[in-house]
Symmetry: C2
Subunit: 237 residues, 2 copies
DNA sequence: CGGCAAGTTGAGCCAGGTCAACTCCGGTGG
DNA sequence: CCACCGGAGTTGACCTGGCTCAACTTGCCG
């Protein structure tokens, strides 16, 4: 049996990107996993929830941005987490907790992995296991940092943190780049950092007026004063 | 070689509690891990940070409550996460992110595991690995839920969520018990839910006045109306 | 029975929520 | 090519929940 990379994986960032999960698999493992998995394109608003998540609770993000959304009884909506390229969303066991949906915030490519094969590969391939573990830990740290941001920071500080986070998480061609893409709409950003869209707008204006950053367009900003942005995010002045 | 459980483990909740990590180890594994680990008692304010965490980034909580604290530039302090009995705190890789400390909020017993042995056991014992994974996922979900609570809820709702979370995480003798221990001081609670101590006090008063709960003493409450508490936590009325 | 830390209560103030009006922009059809 | 439309983002005016600061009460330990 010749084992060659499945076609669909050849062009997938999860396979091409050196330190993501799929890149660590042997060809055989990749084939097995691929056979039992579904890859899918999603567009803004497409949702995975309920049944779909119970049966296929593991989703790998190849491109785009997904959000985990919670809905409160009175209709307040909030984005609990953002997932981007390389994240492996493992929602097994979340059913015990609050109901929530996985919603794409734009065009995105995902791969819905078979839990069985995923688990099997994870325990037989330590290299792959490390990758998963490290990604999961990163998600935990991100969630923890985010909850700190949400609990103590004020709006401007939250926005600054968010921009820095965007810059940091960008599939950084040149890391430390000062041109950063804001990969979500204003209203999604607002839901993620827990303020109103109006407030986001005002805070962006504030940063622009102070010369901290400039807009190329709505979704691309140039950071003129990284140090100051970091100070703001960290609560100085 | 006779393999018997190390003395120190015999009385440790991590070993006795059926579904926690240590309980899943073979005696040999337990002995190996124990040899290279330090167990320690901590009291209120005792801190693990910097060097100590870099070299020994994995801490298992046997009893008590630990907190992960972030400090902002202007002195605002905030508790990012609470760890209780059975949690395995794996801080490997957190150094890339914000500096933070692990601080005990009262008397607690911890076991600082050797990363090497921990990793080795995890990959050779799938049963143990499952336990670790599941705990880490729970931590992630908790952090995500918490960040939702922080970002969109108001003080009363946060407090209600916190009480429910306490009740849920209690090493529940009888689950669903309406008597719940608040395992932290008011000021720590306030830092965790991101409000001022004064506000915590006012919200507790509110819940008491409405008959939702009653105090046995400062740290033990009886929930008289679980349904209402849940509604409040979820933002109804 | 002090003495101190922890928690509570009160009064005033401000960051950000709310609501409404307005602008901007891309798509569509006459 | 322009007029129109609808959704996204912005701006302004007002209001309120929770922060602040200060005084007071309670509980715990020697």
């Amino acid at each position: 049996m010749t084992s060659s990379v499945p076609n669909i994986c050849k062009s997938c960032s999860l396979h091409c990107d050196h330190d993501s999960f799929c890149a660590r698999l042997t060809n055989d493992e990749l084939i097995q996993l691929n056979e039992k998995s579904h890859s899918a394109s999603m567009k803004r608003g497409d949702t995975l929830s309920g049944e779909a998540l119970t049966q296929w609770p593991i989703v790998a993000v190849s491109s785009g941005v997904l959000s985990l959304q919670h809905l409160m009884a009175d209709g307040r909506k909030s984005i609990a987490a953002l997932y981007m390229q390389g994240d492996i969303i493992d929602l097994r066991g979340i059913a015990n907790r609050n109901r929530c949906n996985l919603i794409s915030l734009g065009n995105s490519e995902v791969c819905r992995l078979s839990p069985d094969i995923f688990e099997r590969v994870a325990s037989s391939n330590p290299n792959a296991q490390n990758s998963i573990w490290s990604n999961l830990r990163q998600q935990t740290f991100r969630a923890i940092d985010h909850s700190v941001d949400m609990s103590k920071k004020q709006a401007l500080e939250k926005l600054a943190s968010f921009i820095i986070e965007c810059n940091y998480r960008e599939t950084s061609t040149a890391s430390g780049s000062v041109v950063t893409k804001i990969p979500v709409r204003r209203v999604d950003l607002a839901e993620y950092i827990g303020v109103q869209p109006e407030t986001v707008s005002r805070c962006f204006k504030n940063l622009k007026d102070r010369g901290v950053l400039a807009f190329k367009n709505l979704s691309v900003v140039t950071i003129h004063d990284v140090a100051l942005l970091q100070k703001i995010a960290n609560g100085e002045k």
